[in-house]
């Protein structure tokens, strides 16, 4: 974990209220893993008081990190107003990211990435690392399922394709691709796939992740999901960001709270208890 004054390299709107920012933060860039996040003090003053967490979207020219964010509230809107050349107080890399080549399903040959809305952000970084790992395992393939409200909200399609991923799209209104939720598209795809599956990696809104957990159980395919929680500290100190998890995979009634910022944000779906 590092706390750095990161120089803002660029900050641009890419579509609607979705923005992309690059920050110079060599220590963070060098040690970051897909699924980890950074915690940004978006203004110098007391408003907003707390930092705001954002997933690491990509490593930018070795020494930089990129985030992809939606300007929805006070903090993210203030972030959208920051200008290149300014410096931001950033802590990272934080949390535990996606496990690659370890854990259940590591031997499989097909990875399925499922993104809902802004949940696309960390999956681009993941796809990059999976593409790099492909050198060792040339036969592995990555399928990316992108969920968005409409065709105008689809994020990072080009990036995934350039990384050699197969991409399928689901829109809520059917303006492009599959009409419906990306979790329904996932079921269709799982029914069609004949390869030995490796694992599902997902990030997006909580109801989507809940549904994906259910599907992963139904199809008996391990899933790693990236969760969100309201965070006060982001470094494991306040115990504020907890989610309920099963202490023991077999006895799901015995629960324990885990910190999204420390033990997460990526969890094995089978361990998460949804109330």
């Amino acid at each position: 974990m590092f706390q750095v004054n990161a120089r803002l390299l660029y900050n641009k709107r890419i579509k609607k209220n979705c923005h992309e920012m690059a920050l110079s933060a060599p220590q963070i860039a060098k040690s970051a893993l897909p699924g980890q996040f950074i915690n940004i003090k978006v203004t110098d003053g007391l408003e907003p008081l707390l930092r705001r967490p954002f997933s690491i979207h990509q490593i930018y020219r070795q020494d930089g990190i990129k985030i992809l964010y939606e300007a929805i509230g006070k903090g993210s809107k203030a972030l959208a107003r920051r200008k290149s050349g300014e410096s931001l107080d950033v802590i990272g890399p934080l949390g535990n990211g996606f496990k690659l080549g370890r854990g259940p399903g590591a031997g499989g040959r097909r990875h399925v990435l499922v993104a809902g809305g802004m949940g696309t952000a960390p999956l681009v970084f993941l796809a990059e690392r999976l593409a790099e790992a492909k050198n060792q395992k040339p036969k592995t393939k990555t399928l990316v399922l992108l969920g968005a409200r409409t065709k105008d909200d689809i994020l990072c399609e080009k990036e995934f394709k350039e990384l050699g991923c197969e991409v399928r799209i689901a829109t809520d209104d059917g303006s492009r691709g599959f009409k419906g939720y990306v979790s329904e598209l996932l079921k269709d795809e799982l029914n069609a796939i004949r390869y030995p599956l490796s694992a599902i990696y997902a990030c997006g809104p909580t109801p989507m992740l809940k549904e994906i957990s259910r599907i992963s159980q139904e199809y008996d395919i391990p899933a790693q999901i990236s969760l969100e929680a309201h965070m006060a500290c982001g470094i494991g100190a306040c115990m504020g960001c907890v989610i309920k998890t099963a202490r023991n995979a077999l006895r799901a009634t015995e629960y324990e709270y885990k910190r999204v910022c420390k033990e997460g944000p990526v969890f094995e779906a089978s361990r998460v208890i949804w109330d």
Binding site: L49, C233, G234, A237
Partner: protein, 305 residues
């Protein structure tokens, strides 16, 4: 000039007056990447109870104007878990360790906990958290009643010779009366303030922003309330006051010292800037050098009225 930053709290001799507030610093390990922990005046642990506690259901925190609400519900590994898993790291630092304790079962549990801690030489002091708004088995907090405060502090006092600090709630009519009761019962110092009871609503959903509905307010929003209470208590008691509530920088730490606090605790600021404590320690040193003050204790209660 080498100014004196040392302060005494009971039997404790602190190298500077900057502590961390219980529950905002974990068990210190979370901060080791950000600051040199050895530089702290003392470390106050997250409150521990006899048995492990899972804490309250999420969401447990939300942001408010210049502050935040929390309802952690004292999630902690219990005393034995603390001694086994957390103390080994703390012990190595060579910084005075103040263990904050709370009871889920009346005065007896405070006695059991204080006895257990009394035997451990690496623990420098005990803070009695009788003011946590997030575990309320009865309608009232201990620190909302002077008689109960006296009884509990007296009971803990009878089983330990370690420095005993009593942490007070601001959710009272007359905090000085409670502080006096703690002093009479043998407390070596008082810590104030704990969080102010508060609540915040999401108007889109009509639901409370934290699951426990109400929680404890902390951060700069509560600072003027806390400073006033420190001043109030300082005038009435002889034992030292440890002041806290919304300290985020050197200037806000100075406010508390001038109001009568012998030491200060940094809480919510640790979340915003994990280097706050270190920056405030050097800020205080610079301040007293610039103002030609030879001893920081001269500042304590120096309010000019």
């Amino acid at each position: 000039m080498n100014p004196n930053l040392k302060v005494n709290i009971g039997k404790l001799n602190l190298k500077n007056p900057v502590l961390v507030a219980s529950g905002t610093f974990g068990y210190a390990e979370e901060f080791k990447d950000f600051i040199d922990l050895k530089k702290l005046g003392a470390i106050v642990t997250k409150t521990i109870t006899l048995n492990p506690r899972k804490g309250n259901p999420p969401p447990r925190t939300c942001e408010t104007p210049a502050g935040m609400l929390n309802s952690i519900g004292l999630e902690n590994p219990g005393i034995e878990g603390f001694l086994k898993e957390k103390l080994p790291f703390l012990k190595k630092l060579g910084v005075p360790i103040i263990v904050s304790i709370a009871s889920e079962g009346g005065q007896e549990e405070f006695i059991t906990l204080a006895k257990r801690l009394d035997k451990i030489k690496e623990i420098s002091a005990i803070e009695l958290n009788i003011s946590c708004p997030n575990i309320k088995e009865s309608a009232r907090l201990i620190s909302q009643d002077a008689k109960t405060t006296y009884k509990v502090v007296k009971a803990a006092r009878s089983v330990t010779r370690k420095t005993l600090i009593t942490k007070l709630s601001p959710n009272v009519t007359d905090i000085a009366e409670i502080a006096l009761a703690a002093e009479r019962a043998g407390s070596d110092a008082v810590s104030l303030v704990n969080t102010l009871a508060g609540m915040s609503i999401n108007v889109k959903t009509g639901k409370p922003k934290i699951a426990a509905i109400a929680g404890g307010l902390s951060g700069p929003a509560i600072r003027p309330v806390a400073v006033r209470m420190v001043w109030e208590v300082y005038q009435k008691i002889k034992i030292p006051v440890i002041g806290m509530g919304g300290i985020i920088d050197t200037e806000s730490a100075l406010e508390f010292l001038i109001a009568g606090a012998s030491a200060v605790s940094i809480g919510t600021a640790n979340f915003i800037n994990p280097r706050s404590t270190a920056e405030i320690i050097s800020g205080l040193r610079d301040y007293i050098i610039q103002n030609k003050i030879s001893d920081i204790n001269e500042l304590v209660g120096s309010l000019r009225v």
